[in-house]
Each structure stands twice: as structure tokens, then as C-alpha cells.
């Protein structure tokens, strides 16, 4: 319950951080509300997978390492870099329909990474290491068993995911070319933003006097 309430209290923040990635992606992919529900669900699954992994890590050995600011920023930076590359590829490559949901569902032979774009986006945005996440991380690390730690993160995830139920409404946008192009370009721009963030996180706090 504590974990769920912690997640619920921060669901607005989580939505705010995930929406700039998910909304342009959904708009760029086209499809109606049904497709939007599927994309959101897959995105959340990716987030859940990321959270479970962290739940496991929290309980095992990474707590002191990830408590160190530098390592935390490096990890966030590398995740932001991968996210950036995914978004830039989707946003600025034209005529590449393999990242869209309908095409992905049909093309079973598509490379693995292309088939699981929403899950990857979810996992990478989930690893934001924001203060609520770190709080949950610390709470989970104090669990007596690995199962307790993972369960804490699952409940935390459930709380953060409540507001995501409104995101499929993006599917109400008309699936016309201008909307899709705008969505894809917005993804590309978000990719550049995450690239900029990644560079700052990885480069660290260099000071210029």
C-alpha cells in the first residue's frame, strides 16, 4: 500500500516525463484509440520491466553504487542516449514504417529492436532516477527478500500508471499525414532533447570559471 500510494502521489510527474515521448510516438504511428491503448500498454510493460529490474538490483548489490551521484548520472545518461537514438531514428527517417504498430504486428521477421519499440521507450523513460524513484529504490533496498523488493516496485509502478489511462485518447487525433508527420518530427526533436540531456549527464558537472 505504501508503495502504491508513493507511486500514485507521483503519477503526475511520471506522466509528465513520459508523455513527451509517448504522445508524439502515438501521433506519429497513426491508428485510433484501440491502437493507442495497445501502445500505452506495451509502453507500460516496458516500464514495468525496467522497474522490476531495478527492484532486483535494489535488493542485491547496487544500492551503495547507485547512491553515488556520479554513477547514477552516468546510468541515466546512457539510458537517455539509447532513448535519444531510438527517438531520432523514428522521428527523422522517412518512409520507415517498420516502427509503426500495424506494420510491426504483421512483420514477424522484423529485427527485434524494431518489434519492441514501445517497450523499449517505456523501459528507458522509466529509468529516470527522479527523486520519487530513488525514494522507492531506497525503500525497496530495505526489503527483507528479493521478492519484497520487486513487489514494492510493482506496487510503485501501479500507482504511477493510473494517469496513463488517458493517454490512448491521443488516438482520437485524425490519422492524417500532417498529424503523423508532426508526431514523428516531435519524436525526433524529443530525441535531440534526450541526446542533449545524455551529453550533460555523461559529461558531468564541468565548471568554467
Amino acid at each position: 500500500m505504501k508503495a502504491f500510494l508513493l507511486g500514485l502521489g507521483n503519477s503526475g510527474v511520471c506522466l509528465a516525463y513520459c508523455a513527451p515521448v509517448l504522445i508524439p510516438y502515438m501521433a506519429g504511428s497513426g491508428g485510433g484509440v484501440g491502437t493507442g491503448c495497445l501502445v500505452t500498454l506495451r509502453f507500460l510493460c516496458g516500464r514495468l520491466a525496467g522497474y522490476c529490474l531495478f527492484g532486483l538490483l535494489a535488493w542485491l548489490v547496487w544500492r551503495p553504487l547507485l547512491a553515488a551521484t556520479g554513477a547514477r548520472e552516468l546510468l541515466s545518461g546512457y539510458c537517455s542516449l539509447v532513448l535519444a537514438l531510438l527517438l531520432i531514428r523514428f522521428g527523422f527517417t522517412r518512409g520507415d514504417q517498420s516502427c509503426s504498430i500495424p506494420a510491426m504486428l504483421k512483420r514477424r521477421d522484423a529485427p527485434l529492436i524494431r518489434r519492441y519499440v514501445p517497450e523499449l521507450l517505456g523501459a528507458l523513460t522509466g529509468v529516470s532516477l527522479c527523486p520519487p524513484f530513488l525514494l522507492a529504490f531506497n525503500e525497496a533496498a530495505a526489503a527483507e527478500t528479493v521478492f519484497g523488493s520487486v513487489l514494492f516496485f510493482i506496487c510503485f509502478f501501479a500507482g504511477t500508471a493510473v494517469l496513463f489511462m488517458f493517454l490512448p485518447l491521443v488516438g482520437l487525433l485524425p490519422a492524417r499525414e500532417p498529424v503523423q508527420l508532426t508526431g514523428r518530427l516531435a519524436c525526433g526533436v524529443m530525441g535531440l532533447y534526450y541526446l542533449y540531456t545524455a551529453v550533460l549527464l555523461v559529461a558531468g558537472g564541468i565548471t568554467i570559471k
Binding site: 513527451p20 526533436v189 568554467i208
Partner: protein, 391 residues
């Protein structure tokens, strides 16, 4: 198409000198009122600056009325306006806080003048948190948030995205670079890129709402190259500086010169995309008479913001992103394109009447905002000549 060709093709307004003077007279009286604010300027320098500005603005307006050509005189004032803004704004910053660089202390004190480009980014956070996510003053200060909002609302209702061709104090820069004589080197820009301003708009609105900070200002705005920018004290601020300088050079200087288009306004600016929505609510638009149009493509080639094409010609009006500069109207040698008052039949209001009805609010906004900047810039240049310093 160069300007001499435009002039040869154009048959003029058909109006006598006296009629043109009469039509221009109200603008003269209004501009005197706006620039003087009810007081005759004292001192030689002030009087010279006031008179020169008045003469310049009203000469341009008179020529618009008399020749029937809108764009060339609008562009002249618009470019001068942008240059004057740089001179006036930066010298004012140096006088008031000693530097164009913005420090943390300045931001905390709410001393940052509010810029209209931020408007789309502040709306969602303001609605959700009742906070203006910009380090400026709500009222009282120079370029306060409330003053800019009132200006923006008024201009949007009157002229829609005409804001980008008549009011924006940055637009004159890429307009100026696009008009440097020379042939068009890059002629075809893939249509895909026309949606980039919309993509940037979606991205910065969402990230600003997520981070509660104006992300476009922080890492994308190219005009920090000509106005104020954050002091370089860290890797982050250095990176931000490199980014905005690169965008400025690419979209404001190089691409406009190569394409002869306003690439910053048409292919990048998220405010321009946002402002396009106001074209739906203002009383004017640009109509294309299919019966007269011979599909020569001159209007499409001339349009600086990529608002004309096959779709627009088929629809009989310019695209949503039209910034009402009047270039297509001037360039069309068949008279197929005209300003139009919404709600009226094209034939019921003459082309010239509709154009004048548009020119008045548009030029008034331009004179109101640009006039004071041009006057201040002239004063600064006078000071430079007489004392060796603009500050």
C-alpha cells in the same frame, strides 16, 4: 522574381496622389500619438529621432497605399525594426545590468523581459500550477508578462499569423538575409520539413509542462545570439550557447540566403506554428481566384513560409501557415491573389479595399512596437556618433 519584375507586372493601386495622402493621413496622426505619447520631444537628438522615425514609417505606409505594393515596403520596415530591436534591446540591457548575459541573480529577481515566443510553453503549466514558468515580472517592468500577453492577444485577433510578418521583432532578421541579392541556390526543400515547427511546438510544450521550465528558451532559441543569453559558467551553458549559435547561423543566416525563404519562421519557429492557429480566428485571409490563376507557380516560389502549393491553389486560399506578408499578392501578375475579409464574398469587397482594411491594423501594430525601437536605435546611433558610445 526580383522586385523590378514585380513593379513592372503590377499596375499600381490606380489611386491619385491626393487620395493616397488622404488614406495615409490617419496613420500619420496615430503614429504621432503613439511615438510622442502626448509630449513633443525635447532636445535635438530626441526631436531628430522622433522625426526620422515618423518620416520613415509614414513614407513606407504611404508607398504601400499609393503603389498598391505591400511586401517590399513592409519588408523594409520589418528588417529595420529587427536591427533597431537588437541595438535598442542590447544597449538597454548593458545600461541596466551591465551585460547582455543573464545571471542567476537576474533570473531570480524576475528581471528577464518576456518574449512572445515563450507563450505556447507557459500555457499548460499556468493552467495546472497557476505559475508563469518564466523569470520575468507579471506587471510593471519593461516587457512584462501581462503587457506582452495583451499585445499578443490583440495582434492575434486582428491579424492572426500576420504577427510573424508585422510585429515579431526577430522575423526581420531572416527576412533580411533571405533578401540579400543572389540566385536561389537551394530550390527544393522536401515538404516533410514544413512540419518541423509543429513537431518542435509539440516537443517544447510537453517538455516545458514536464519540467516546468521554458525548454525552447533553454536549449533551442537561436535569437539568444542577438539578444540576451545565460552567462557561460558551466559545460551545460557552454553547450547551450554552441547550440543556439549553430541554429542561428543555420536557420537565420545561411539557409535564408541559400533558399531566399524565411527558414527560421517557416521551418523552425514553434511560436510561428502556434500562431498559425490564430489564422482561424482573425478576420482576414488570402484568397486565390481560380478563374484568373494560370498556375505559373510564381506565388509558390515567392512565398517565404511555404504556405502556397497545389493544395492551397485547389482550396482557393493560402495555407494555415500564411503570415500575411503580401508577397504573393504583389507577385501575381494576373491579380488572382488578394487580401480578403472573411464573411464577405470576394467580389463584394474590392481587392484594394480589403488590402487597406488589413494594412491599417497590421501597420499600426508594426508602428506601435517597431516605432519606439527604431526611435531608440536612432538615438543610440546619434549618441555613438557624438560621444563614441551607444551606452
Amino acid at each position: 522574381m526580383n522586385h523590378d519584375t514585380v513593379a513592372r507586372n503590377h499596375k499600381g493601386s490606380g489611386r491619385s496622389l491626393a487620395a493616397s495622402l488622404l488614406l495615409a493621413l490617419p496613420m500619420l496622426l496615430l503614429s504621432i500619438l503613439l511615438l510622442s505619447r502626448g509630449q513633443i520631444p525635447a532636445g535635438n537628438a530626441q526631436l531628430f529621432a522622433f522625426s526620422a522615425t515618423l518620416l520613415f514609417l509614414n513614407a513606407a505606409f504611404f508607398m504601400m497605399i499609393h503603389t498598391g505594393l505591400t511586401d517590399r515596403y513592409r519588408a523594409l520596415v520589418f528588417v529595420m525594426f529587427a536591427l533597431a530591436f537588437i541595438i535598442s534591446f542590447t544597449t538597454n540591457l548593458i545600461e541596466t545590468r551591465g551585460s547582455v548575459a543573464l545571471s542567476e541573480a537576474d533570473m531570480l529577481a524576475g528581471d528577464t523581459p518576456f518574449c512572445h515566443i515563450v507563450i505556447p510553453m507557459v500555457l499548460i503549466p499556468a493552467a495546472l500550477t497557476k505559475t508563469i514558468i518564466f523569470p520575468g515580472s507579471i506587471t510593471g517592468a519593461h516587457a512584462s508578462v501581462s503587457a506582452m500577453f495583451v499585445l499578443w492577444i490583440g495582434a492575434s485577433l486582428a491579424i492572426g499569423r500576420g504577427f510573424c510578418s508585422w510585429v515579431c521583432f526577430f522575423g526581420g532578421l531572416d527576412e533580411g538575409f533571405s533578401r540579400i541579392p543572389g540566385r536561389t541556390i537551394v530550390k527544393n526543400i522536401p515538404a516533410f520539413w514544413k512540419y518541423l515547427p509543429w513537431g518542435i511546438l509539440v516537443a517544447v510544450v510537453l517538455t516545458s509542462a514536464a519540467t516546468l521550465s521554458p525548454t525552447y528558451c533553454s536549449w533551442l532559441c537561436p535569437f539568444k545570439a542577438t539578444t540576451e543569453h545565460v552567462q557561460i559558467t558551466s559545460f551545460k551553458t557552454l553547450l547551450q550557447t554552441v547550440i543556439f549559435m549553430a541554429i542561428f547561423l543555420a536557420f537565420v543566416v545561411v539557409l535564408p540566403y541559400l533558399t531566399k525563404k524565411r527558414t527560421q519562421c517557416g521551418l523552425f519557429c514553434p511560436f510561428g506554428a502556434f500562431q498559425s492557429l490564430t489564422n482561424r480566428i482573425n478576420p482576414f485571409d488570402i484568397r486565390i481566384d481560380g478563374a484568373k490563376c494560370v498556375q505559373c507557380g510564381k506565388c509558390e516560389a515567392a512565398c517565404p513560409t511555404f504556405s502556397l502549393g497545389d493544395e492551397a491553389l485547389a482550396a482557393g486560399k493560402s495555407g494555415l501557415t500564411c503570415c500575411r506578408c503580401g508577397k504573393c499578392v504583389d507577385v501575381c501578375h494576373k491579380g488572382a491573389i488578394s487580401f480578403h475579409v472573411k464573411g464577405t464574398r470576394v467580389a463584394s469587397v474590392s481587392r484594394e479595399t480589403a488590402r487597406i482594411l488589413f494594412l491599417y491594423p497590421a501597420f499600426l501594430f508594426m508602428a506601435a512596437i517597431g516605432g519606439s525601437m527604431i526611435r531608440d536605435a536612432i538615438l543610440r546611433l546619434w549618441q555613438l556618433v557624438t560621444t563614441g558610445s551607444m551606452v
